[in-house]
Symmetry: C2
Subunit: 119 residues, 2 copies
Amino acid sequence: MQAASLDRTFHALSDPTRRAMVQRLARGPASVSELARPLSISLPAVMQHLQVLEASGIVKSEKVGRVRTCSVEPKVLSQAERWIADRRDQWERKLDRLGEYLEATASGNDNEEDEGNAK
Amino acid sequence: MQAASLDRTFHALSDPTRRAMVQRLARGPASVSELARPLSISLPAVMQHLQVLEASGIVKSEKVGRVRTCSVEPKVLSQAERWIADRRDQWERKLDRLGEYLEATASGNDNEEDEGNAK
């Protein structure tokens, strides 16, 4: 995934109003006025947030007649999720290797002690 | 997870330099100068990015003597990952239900056609 695309995706998700819009759209497509209803902000403000979400690719919208219907594009969300998961996996594998190393070192010490005790 | 915490986490991840720092730290702890080395930016700029990462909780650092060592805090990454995954799951379950509904409707139509054809 392009860095610029991740920039836009994470930026889009860094605002609570935009996350509320994504949360609503995860339940299914909605018109702009349906999206605006539970949010206590003006329609132009909703449109601005929608533009940020569309620029990131998280949301797409289509205008039919006078109604613009918005929906979630799960692929972009998956890519952001994957970026985080890959870093977390890498870190956890690192910790596992450290654990194995410490275990190997500890059992090495145990053997030495056993040898010391044996006579 | 608090909304303000998700704001800070996604904001921290929306910058390519900060993501490069997280990517480096996912391989294991590093000093600030180790973090700065592959990045073509000044040390003060690295320190500023580090502050944003620490404010989000993604990275923690500890100063021993003159060396500040940074490491990843995987819990905060997991929380951001979970937020995205939950939205994506919700959307996919919605699609599954829609699929089942369409299938049920289609097989309903098939039955009607069968009845029409049978004689």
